[in-house]
Symmetry: C2
Subunit: 342 residues, 2 copies
DNA sequence: TTGAAAGCGCTAACAC
DNA sequence: GTGTTAGCGCTTTCAA
């Protein structure tokens, strides 16, 4: 199949190729009649506009780079799902990259985006990354950049995140209102921002409801399902009394749940359990695991919409960057539903 | 930041711009000394090759289009994860599109790919799609096309799928070997290829082990968690005796499991349950749900590798298309583990 | 309302 | 080993 260009259409119709170009771009100065015949022969010849040429010439591209740690993590694939939806509805396409949490990959991805002359970049930073030169280069080139979930604060770039403090607060408040009094919180050993925020939410809820903060109820670890199980074993070994557990994320909460059931502890009657992230399994396990929903798809949509606004505004980096902080929501399931009304 | 081109580097070094181009592309006829100085000033000036220009001129692009129904389905995001990994390691980038199971979106996605002059396309067909003109256009343009999981047989295009017949067989055989004799199979009302294959596997296993095929044990429905629950209620209502259930996918199996537990039926002692897909929740529910693993990441990797071979071969559409059929694997968990040894 | 001409930044054939 | 030249297929001024 020979490659068809606007010149072929022009030859066919005996007009100049620039008339054809204008007709295809729906230029106002072209008569409806010409437009019609141009479109018809374009169709007939199976013409397809070459975006490479048009982007090169015009200096405008309609692809935007999206880089995330891994699509194999449901949080990220779900956010990308939301981003792609909105981005596509607005006529852009996405160039996708996974950093696999590696700084080198992330840098390489950004370079590819820059070389491909993307219109802008949406990113969630790799865990490993501690140098941000590749991100500041984007800024220096005046290319729109937006972070979601994992943000580099020092760059002062627009971002979309969720309010982890509020999430921690909601989870804890819910347990308190269900009548639980000695609430364990499992958090991360490392001082990762989001987990510190969830812990702050936990502490603030206790304070607000005049419950004492008991340091022996705050457990620090390498979060995982196994760590959740281990926490429960330790609490029993140490004979710490408790009647509820708020775990920093659902897998850990799941471990907690499994170990409690193994010990024949009744959930939620004797001990309530709540997680964080609202993973798909939370609704399926028995008893259903209460959790905090992170609004993944809305996060992607909000990110894409804010980003489109950035693309359209001229004074991109002049005013203060906009930060959208989404509200997490409490999902109550059987694992904490001790009272009829919450 | 002014845009830097090879001309700027050339001016800086008093050489011709084509020397610069060759140096940057590591052309053998350029002296090491020139290469070095060119690379240095490129770095100094913050030069970035414009891929749009180079692809336009050379006629070769290094982006490949990937279109899937939805990234919000873990199967697809996991396969895309595998594809992206291999594709990137080989210097290509992926342009991503979701069809959301819609024919119109799928068509639009393919058109965008064609306009963007992608080097090739990897696709998993939308449910809604019944016309394949957009796919045959790809072939006509001699652009490499590969299907994974959802294939258009009539197009004779390379593909990567899993052996659903074998999956159905493995699941059923496992139940038989565990001593279950009256095995229910829940399948789809619509005659979707993969589900028909799983059913065939079920029937073949029964035959091989000389178990009778009882039509009243084969249930056709609109699969979902709720349908799984309903199946169990119906079986009890109709007083059909059975001692195991093989459901066409995990969510349905989960419904089965939940309803059995609600009826205080002991799993796996009285009834064994196995699903299909090995969703992440299968390992987390109690009892753990046995399932058939679909090799999502390997599928993505195999698809990407076969695809790269296609890109490199000249006689793309001459010989018979290669079809890779991956073996599913049996994952045994508590829901079917009635005997010590399987 | 349309045409002519220049050029986006690069690759690659052809010179020397 | 390096320079010259001609485009890739478009967009976009300027002129008519």
């Amino acid at each position: 199949m020979k490659k068809v260009t606007i010149h072929d259409i022009a030859k066919e119709l005996n007009v100049s190729f620039s008339t054809v170009a204008r007709a295809l771009n729906d230029h106002p100065a072209i008569s409806e009649a010409t437009k019609k015949s141009v479109r018809e022969t374009a169709q007939k010849l199976n013409y397809r506009q070459n975006k490479l040429a048009s982007s090169l010439r015009s200096g405008h591209s309609n692809t935007i780079g999206v880089i995330v740690p891994s699509l194999d993590v449901s949080f990220f694939s779900s956010v990308v799902h939301g981003i792609e939806k909105i981005i596509n509805e607005n006529g852009y396409s996405i160039l996708l990259y996974q950093s696999n949490e590696s700084y080198e990959s992330e840098k390489k991805g950004i370079e590819t985006f820059l070389n491909s002359r993307v219109a802008g970049i949406i990113a969630s930073v790799a865990k490993e990354t501690t140098k941000y030169e590749h991100f500041s280069e984007i800024r220096r080139r005046r290319i729109p950049l937006l972070f979601f979930d994992r943000v580099v604060e020092s760059l002062h770039v627009p971002s979309v995140t969720i309010d982890d403090h509020k999430g921690g607060f909601l989870a804890t408040e819910h347990l308190i209102r269900q009548g639980y009094k000695r609430i364990v919180h499992i958090t991360a050993k490392q001082t990762i921002g989001i987990f510190k925020e969830r812990l702050r939410g936990y502490l603030d809820a206790l304070k607000l409801y005049n419950l004492p903060v008991d340091e022996s109820l705050i457990l620090y670890g390498d979060f995982s399902l196994d760590f959740g199980r281990q926490c429960i074993r330790d609490l029993y070994l140490r004979e710490v009394s408790f009647d509820a557990v708020f775990a920093l994320e659902d897998f850990t909460a799941m471990g907690v749940l499994q170990q409690l059931l193994a010990y024949k502890v009744r959930v939620p009657e004797e001990v309530g359990v709540i997680g964080f992230a609202n993973e798909s399994f939370a609704a399926l396990v028995t008893p259903g695991l209460s959790s905090i929903d992170q609004q993944t798809v809305p996060m992607g949509e909000a990110a894409a919409e804010l980003f489109l606004k950035m693309l359209r505004s001229e004074d991109l980096y002049n005013n203060l960057p906009k930060r959208i902080v989404l509200d997490p929501s409490l999902i109550v399931r059987a694992s904490t539903e001790r009272l009829a009304s919450s």
